[in-house]
């Protein structure tokens, strides 16, 4: 009985701490923490720098993925087609899109070693539930690239639902792709295309 109560108390305090952390961490702080953490890991790891895909994928799954709202990303990328999809299709789309994005960034991770990031001051009012975090990525010998993160406030903390690289929104670019695929082969066709793409990438990685 005592043991259970102790467990309950520790769970409660754990939940409280988690709550406190998410309530206090501002959206720009989330971006900075996650980006610096990932960059530091890449800089310290020879295997990641050499392009070890399994390891890169693992790193992104644990550090990046929890800070993204893939359901909202997928819904936005689907546009008006999202509402015509069944809940089952929506889940499949979200899973496949998530896999595609993680694979894409895993492949690019090795290139990030020499990047440094600047974080622009956040413009946001207290009580806002949406914010854009602006950053600039610098690479030696190249002009800086603007990378903005569209963030939303969820009960568990701030999460990103779009990344805008040099004015190109990830979600918008995919909306064209998804729209075309749905137009030509329907929602199931799009799911099949995504699965095929992810499957081919999985075989190529082996």
């Amino acid at each position: 009985m005592i043991r259970i109560r102790a467990l309950g108390a520790s769970l409660l305090s754990l939940a409280f701490v988690a709550c406190l952390a998410s309530a206090q961490e501002a959206p720009d702080a989330v971006v900075k923490r996650v980006a610096e953490d990932i960059l530091a890991t890449v800089r310290a790891d020879k295997e990641l720098q050499a392009g070890n895909l399994t390891k890169a994928k693992q790193l992104l799954e644990t550090k990046l993925v929890p800070n993204f709202d893939f359901a909202r990303m997928t819904a936005l990328a689907m546009g008006r087609n999202w509402r015509t999809a069944t809940p089952e299709q929506q889940k499949q789309l979200t899973d496949e899109f998530r896999t595609l994005l993680v694979r894409t960034y895993s492949g690019a991770l090795a290139n990030y070693r020499d990047n440094t990031m600047d974080y622009k001051p956040l413009r946001m009012n207290p009580g806002d539930t949406e914010a854009t975090v602006r950053t600039e990525v610098r690479r030696p010998g190249q002009a800086a690239v603007q990378i903005d993160y569209s963030m939303e406030k969820l009960p568990e903390g701030w999460k990103a639902y779009d990344v805008i690289v040099g004015g190109v929104s990830l979600v918008t670019n995919y909306r064209d792709e998804f729209n075309d695929a749905v137009k030509s082969s329907g929602i199931d066709g799009l799911i099949a295309t995504l699965m095929k793409k992810n499957g081919a990438a999985a075989t190529a990685a082996k």
């Binding site: 894409t104 030696p140 002009a143 603007q146 190109v168 670019n173 064209d176 295309t193």
Partner: protein, 234 residues
Amino acid sequence: MKPAATVAVAFVVVLLSGCATTQSRVDPFEPFNRAMLEVHDVVDGNVVKPVAEAYVKYTPEPVRSVVTNFFGNIEDLFVGINNVLEGNGNRAGDDFGRVLLNSTFGLGGIFDLASMMGIEKHSQDFGITFGKWGFPQGPYFFVPLFGPTTLRDGTGTAIRAYLGPTTYIFGNVPLRNSIWGVGFVDARANALGTESMVDAAALDRYRFIRNGYLRARRYQVYDGKPPPEEEDGE
């Protein structure tokens, strides 16, 4: 059929099909451009890309960075000229300051001292200037080995190429060609990362490149504050 003949026939066929069907306003020559992307893939995949990959593999990073800086310094001069043409005096001042500093203390541009001192490198070209002056972008083209462009941006690139300076500074033709070749391989090598990312990300590579390119250019023409796009899914 010989490969050259196949390419020539494909050329004519897509040109005709481009005329016959109504394509989108931005990309009226889509079938032709798609064929050009295929031509690009063959030439690039068999020659240019392997050379660029070998260059990355066998050339130490500091040497490659010297090469990138050298060409980047020449480019900064034109970035400055375009900033003048667009009326961005402050930025142009930075650009010319960079060229001055890097050409002298940076030993002819091989070291990017200006960046270390916090004078930012900008990205600017004639295509953006024309866009700011109100020239429409015109039709989109995919040009093998040069990549995505538009009539406006391509005109800018042609003007930039005409201005040299490789043509004037280096009268010695073999030397000039080698310098031009090194610059080309260096640029291709620097694009390897982006390219593999696009390959991984795109469902339809042709459209992904086109739409991404056109949006990025639009963003630059509007100085990072583009008006919302007209056709929107939601």
